[in-house]
Each structure stands twice: as structure tokens, then as C-alpha cells.
Point group: C2
Chain length 314, copies 2
């Protein structure tokens, strides 16, 4: 079977509900195989609702996600979770401990959970995650939850393309993510103060309200919800806030805009990817690269040479 | 004057020592103008030594950098500093407060300090910073210092391509950068425990030594230096550690390798950049993009269409 035939076969199995096929397709996406190019264009079902969950390490993102899965399963929704592991770009090691909790759903065929890790290449995730989201969308999940630690530009970018973004903080969160506060404020649609049985909840709420008051007013003012995810407290109110935000997105036309924007971004990313591959396989590429490595050619000049050669004859 | 003529004129002024020309060229690089393609290939002077300085916000990076400038000026070296501002990818606002301190060197013609900020586009900095470094290199500075907050993949990537990377921590640094510890450990050539007049220095040194003992042994074991940058204490020993590391890089052949790698990366980046530009200006691009936006085409399929069209005829 050719690569293309295999992917078409896996896609058809995935549409038929096979989780094994889905998992294999995501692995192919991680290895930068072209998968999405074979997706049928005429998907009849509603697009998945994309939920982003972010926050500092230890804030309780995984527990909250776990409880949200439970909640949405209670509404008979099919749920997919992509857990983005904050790994060192160097060691490649993933912090998987937290995910173990979500394994309570491992036997539920209507829940699909997958970790994705940074594997070296800068921006690898910023390509693979949106592609995986698109795949899950076409697989027909009602909700796709992307959970990620809210540091770094790449991760913020991933989460901010969600339909609704939950930012999970803790009472007296202050110092540890000080540097990121402004960034989080701008991507949050719902703030979740988790571990709200601890001291400092009121102060934290006051801080958040203060920050919101000071920031530029937008048509949607982020909700602030208190939870104790571990005891399943307040999780229904998080789901309610998500629903309310969805309603706002729908009625304002922003939901359609967001989906349009995601499609265009996917198009541009895929285009770049294909171009890169094409040129790196070009016979002159390695020759010119060698000359750069030996210091015979200024890198930017060499780039112009190879691009002119590839495009010049067209 | 055409764009090309202007850049050639600015480059020639820059080689003649004009800081104004240099500053304008960096602005052009930030606006993604092709500058490096016009660099002369036959630069006769030694390449600049590239020093990365990273660490959590408030660790004292700017103060340390300021003192290092002072130290190297005492050795009659010419120094350039690129200060990467941790801005929200959304607000675009830069945190410039810290830089003010470095203004003590503003009147020294042998010191060049420039802030570069994230302006929206993901990965914008990961292209602009290495390009600016290359430019400064060709301008003949003895040292180029890149200072950045050590969060995020993009920033780690920028700093880790340096010849020597200083990671600035504080006594009892523990919690605030917990998530990043492993990453910092892998990029650090020299750990600087700044604010070493505070409590907890011995514990912090012990922690670092412990982490180093546990990590995979490498031919260069990172030095740990204590400083009080504000009082100019220990800064000479940082410079000494940098020199020692440089000696190691030189004798092991790693310095040549690092420079080779940087040149190749610059070549690959420039190549991608040029291709992207070419295709995005192509007449079919906007037509196909419109169809993607309207949901008529699956984004990845659309990408294949445009790439085939542009490259197919070659």
C-alpha cells in the first residue's frame, strides 16, 4: 500500500469511528506526514467546538479538564483532548504525570485523549497541533479541548485560536506568572480560579476584576469562575460560562470569523510547509548548503541563489 | 534611490562605523526587508563572539549586561547589545524600563544597544534576531550580547545558538521558574547567581550543583558564579568564565561547528522566507485563499493546489 492509500484507508476508518486509526493519523501528523490534504472537503457535521485550557504548571488544568470531560459526557457529547506537554526543546522528555488522572476515561469510547510533545524543532508544535485539531474536527467530536501550559509564544498562539479559552489561575497566583499576566488577560474568555478553597480567593478575584477594569473594554468581558476541580465544585458553572461565551460568539458573528481565520491560517501553514519540503529536496539545495557551511557564501545570498534557481525557470 | 541602492549605501556607511546606518538597517530587518542578501561575502575581521544572557524577569539580566559592557569596554572591545523585549504577542507593548539603566553607555560610540520587540507574528523574532546578529557581526563588533527573558521556545532557541549562554538566577530562585529549570539547565554554559548578597546563595549553589550532577555529563560542565551586579561584584569572574568557555569551544572545535550551524540555519531561514514571499504575492494565492475562507476548499488541499501551480511548471 502506498503512503497515500494508507492515509486514505486510515481516514475512512477514522470516519467510521476507529480510535486506533485516529491515533495513528495523529502520529503521522507529528512526523510531518501530509494527512490533511486527503481529508474530504464535504464534511457534513457541525465543526467541533474548540476549547483552550491554559495556566501555570500546577494550577490544576488537567484536573479541570478531567472534570469537564465528565460534565460533557453527561450531556452525551464526544470529547477529544490534546494535552500539550511542556518539554524542553532539548531533552524531548515529556511531563506526563498529570495526564494519568485523565485515564479514568480511558475505557470510554467517546473520549479520546492524546499527548503531544515538543520534539526539538522550533515551531514543530505550532504546525502539528492545529493540524491535529483539524483532524479531530473532521472526526466529528463535539468538543476538542487543547490543554497547554501558558508560557511561550507558541503555546499562547495555539490556545488563542480556540473558540473559548479558559485561563486557570489559583488564589494568590501573583508572582509566579507575573510576566505573563498581560498576555493571559488578553487571551482569557473565562478565568477559572481553581483551588478556590484556599485563602486569597477574594483578593484574586478583586485583582482580576481590577485588571479587567483597567484593560481596554471589549464586547465580551471575561467571566471569573471559582472552582475546586478536585472536588468537582464549580465545574458546571465553568461549562455554563463556556456556553454563554459560545452564544456571544454566535450572535456577534465572531464564531464564523474565528473558523474562517483558522482555515486561512491552516492554508498558509500548509503552503509554507510544502514549499519548504520541496526546496529542501531540490538537488541544488545541498550543494549550496555545503558552500554556506564552508563560508564560501553569505547565507542570505545563497538563499537568493537557490530560490532563483527553483523559481526562475517557472 | 531604489531599495537595493539604499541598503547598499547604508551597509557601506555601517562598515565605515555609522551607528545611524546600523540602526536603520536593523529597523529594515524588523520590517522583514532583505538586508543580509547584500552583505559582502568577504568580511575580513574575526566574527563577533556571541553571548546570550537569559533568566527570569527581575533576575538582574540588564544590570549584569550593563556591567559586562563596562568590563569589556575596559578591554577596549566594541560591544553590541540586542535586548529582546518580552511583549505580549497581542498588545505589542514593550517593557522598556530595564533598558534605561544601560543608557549610561548611550554616549559611548563603541557601544551599540538596541531593543527588539515581538510584533504580533509568531516567529517574527526568531527570524529577525538572528538576522540582526549576523548584521552586527559583519559590522565588526567584538562581542554581541543577546539578552532575553528565558521563557518560551522561541527565546530559548535564540539564546541557545549563542557561543556562550549565561543563565542568570537568584538565591532561592526555585518556584518561579520551576517549569523551565530543565530547559535552562541544558542551555546554560555559565550560571550566574545574581543578588548573591541575599539569603540562600549556598542552597541555590547546592541545588544547581545537584542538578548538574544528575544530568548527563557533558565535556563542558557549566560554571556557577556569584555576583552582585548592582555593586559590580563578581562581574570580572563572569567574564573569566566566559573566556574559559570560549577556550574550551575553541580547542574542542565546537566554536567552528557552532558558527557553521548558525550560517546553515540562516541560509535555511532565508530560503523559507523568500519562498513564502514569492508565493504569497502570486496571483492565484489570494483567489485560492478566498475559496478556503468560504469553506469551498479544505485548507491543506488548497495548499497543494497553489504549490503545484507555482512549482509545477518549473
Amino acid at each position: 500500500m502506498s503512503g497515500k492509500e494508507m492515509i486514505l484507508e486510515l481516514l475512512s476508518q477514522m470516519q467510521g469511528g476507529s480510535r486506533t486509526a485516529l491515533a495513528r493519523l495523529i502520529s503521522l501528523i507529528e512526523r510531518e506526514e501530509e494527512v490533511l490534504a486527503y481529508l474530504p472537503s464535504d464534511i457534513s457535521h457541525e465543526p467541533s467546538y474548540l476549547l483552550g485550557v491554559t495556566g501555570a504548571p500546577g494550577a490544576g488544568k488537567s484536573t479541570l479538564t478531567d472534570r469537564l470531560i465528565e460534565f460533557y459526557r453527561g450531556c452525551d457529547e464526544e470529547i477529544a483532548v490534546l494535552a500539550i506537554d511542556p518539554t524542553s526543546p532539548f531533552s524531548g522528555g515529556a511531563i506526563l504525570g498529570d495526564r494519568v488522572r485523565m485515564q479514568s476515561h480511558a475505557l470510554d469510547p467517546k473520549v479520546f485523549i492524546r499527548s503531544m510533545a515538543t520534539r526539538g524543532s522550533l515551531g514543530g508544535l505550532s504546525v502539528a497541533v492545529p493540524a491535529a485539531v483539524r483532524l479531530l474536527d473532521s472526526a466529528g467530536f463535539d468538543k476538542v479541548i487543547v490543554e497547554t501550559v501558558g508560557v511561550g509564544q507558541v503555546e499562547v498562539d495555539i490556545v488563542s485560536s480556540a473558540d473559548t479559552t479558559l485561563v486557570v489561575v489559583n488564589p494568590l497566583w501573583g508572582d509566579s506568572i507575573q510576566a505573563n499576566k498581560a498576555g493571559l488577560l488578553e487571551i482569557a474568555d473565562v478565568f477559572v480560579i481553581n483551588k478556590a478553597d484556599r485563602e486569597g480567593v477574594r483578593q484574586t478575584r478583586k485583582d482580576l476584576e481590577g485588571m479587567l477594569d483597567l484593560s481596554e473594554p471589549k464586547p465580551w468581558r471575561p467571566k471569573i469562575i471559582e472552582t475546586v476541580a478536585l472536588d468537582n465544585k464549580g465545574v458546571d458553572r465553568v461549562a455554563e460560562a463556556v456556553l454563554e461565551h459560545k452564544g456571544y460568539l454566535w450572535s456577534s458573528g465572531e464564531l464564523a470569523l474565528k473558523r474562517r481565520r483558522r482555515a486561512i491560517e491552516e492554508f498558509e501553514r500548509s503552503t509554507k510547509r510544502l514549499l519548504e519540503r520541496y526546496i529542501m529536496k531540490h538537488e541544488s539545495f545541498s550543494v549550496i548548503k555545503e558552500r554556506v557551511a564552508h563560508g564560501d557564501l553569505e547565507p542570505a545570498q545563497a538563499a537568493k541563489m537557490i530560490v532563483d534557481e527553483v523559481l526562475g525557470s517557472s
